[in-house]
Symmetry: C2
Subunit: 247 residues, 2 copies
């Protein structure tokens, strides 16, 4: 289900006021709004970008959760990382070439769309925005680097713990924290596919974390009693991130 909607003025963007995002100058804001060609809505579970598709747009995730993934021809799927509000998508592949990965919505999703000419325009006329885009790209690579470490060298228990802490913190940064936890719109299959595990084993590990009192997770709501304890379980310590740019 794809809709195009009238563009929300960037000046009224609900994300910008969040403490995690870097302030922009009015000039930048105007240029960004100028490049925006519309918004797009996708239903939960919808394919936002198909693996192998030729992309002509770049998007910013305005609302909702999504994930990037790759599949092997026999169906094995690996989730590369999760996308939350503020994340850019479509940049990883080059425009006008087949996308090396797919993107799927986990919740109903709202995207800001930019035309394919936006990028070169930013680069030639708005160097500061171009630098921000590059920063976002490098930032995502850092996340994927972490995934490699997790999947390659952490045990199943460590992987699950690290992922939950990671998502918890990110959701919090995106302003998605609620009383006693966050909404975690993932099935156990998503967790398994993100961690290189089977669903069954993921389930068992989750049980252990629940029974150990580390997490409460039911009905898509996650709360973590003791974040430090969970970090220890997952051997997971992230570096503090500076305020991030928002396209």
């Amino acid at each position: 289900m794809i809709h195009m909607e009238p563009a929300l003025p960037c000046a009224a963007c609900p994300l910008r006021p969040l403490p995690d995002f870097k302030p922009v100058t009015p000039t930048e804001l105007a240029s960004i709004y100028d490049a925006k060609v519309g918004q797009r809505l996708c239903a939960a579970g919808a394919t936002i970008l198909a693996e192998g598709q030729v992309a002509t747009r770049v998007y910013t995730l305005l609302k909702g959760w999504a994930f990037r993934f790759k599949t092997l021809e026999d169906g094995r799927r690996q989730i590369l990382n999760f996308l939350l509000p503020g994340d850019l998508l479509g940049l990883q592949g080059e425009l006008h070439a087949a996308l090396p990965h797919g993107v799927e919505a986990l919740t109903p999703v709202n995207l800001c769309a930019f035309g394919s000419d936006a990028l070169p325009r930013f680069f030639s006329r708005h160097p500061s925005i171009a630098l921000d885009i590059t920063w976002l790209s490098a930032h995502e690579e850092r996340l994927v680097d972490d995934v490699v470490l997790t999947v390659g060298r952490r045990t199943a228990m460590e992987r699950v713990a690290a992922l939950l802490v990671h998502l918890y913190k990110r959701a919090a940064s995106a302003g998605l924290i609620e009383t006693s936890g966050i909404q975690l719109p993932l099935t156990q299959m998503h967790i398994a596919d993100a961690l290189g595990l089977s669903v069954v084993h993921t389930n068992r590990v989750l049980q252990r974390l629940r029974k150990g009192g580390f997490i409460r997770l039911e009905d898509q709501r996650l709360s973590i009693g003791d974040l430090q304890a969970m970090r220890r379980v997952g051997r997971y310590w992230e570096e503090p991130a500076p305020r991030r740019p928002l396209l």
Copy 2:
């Protein structure tokens, strides 16, 4: 062992003539050379950039092999990807902040160094170069995405086969192909750390590939008899890459 040497003129760069690299305009070439502050030599096995170190430079790998890695505090190490001539390094972390990963030389390595002001200067004055930098960054993310798929969803046999094919092709692109194969400056420990496997198991898989007649690998020389067969073993098919920019 760190030496700074007089800078090789970019116009005389041995890499640029290779068919894999995108041509540059004389103006671009001049600007790049202008930003170059020197060269750096590292011995095989040397740490080029330490994990957690604050970097103040960006480098282009001019000659030799290296790899990026992360470690868990208990010593488990994961190699994120390998660096070959033409690759950029130091961009993934933000300048003037702790590097989230280390970089180590596999062979004697020759680097072109750029000062920390080079990036902002490119962005503000040479949009085309800035775009190239972003392309290189996105390209590396695609490589890491592939690593995630490999480590998360391929079997040990598939992982080894896919990695060998990948490195074989990259070495060929970098002009490192020789009669009957390439020089592969890795120990089995490197392969294991890149694939999330133990050294022992890596060894056994390598034996199977040798005995199956798929590869010849001895004394750091790798040759692959039937590339297509190896691709099938590794379920590994890459998309053709366009000519890449070289900073």
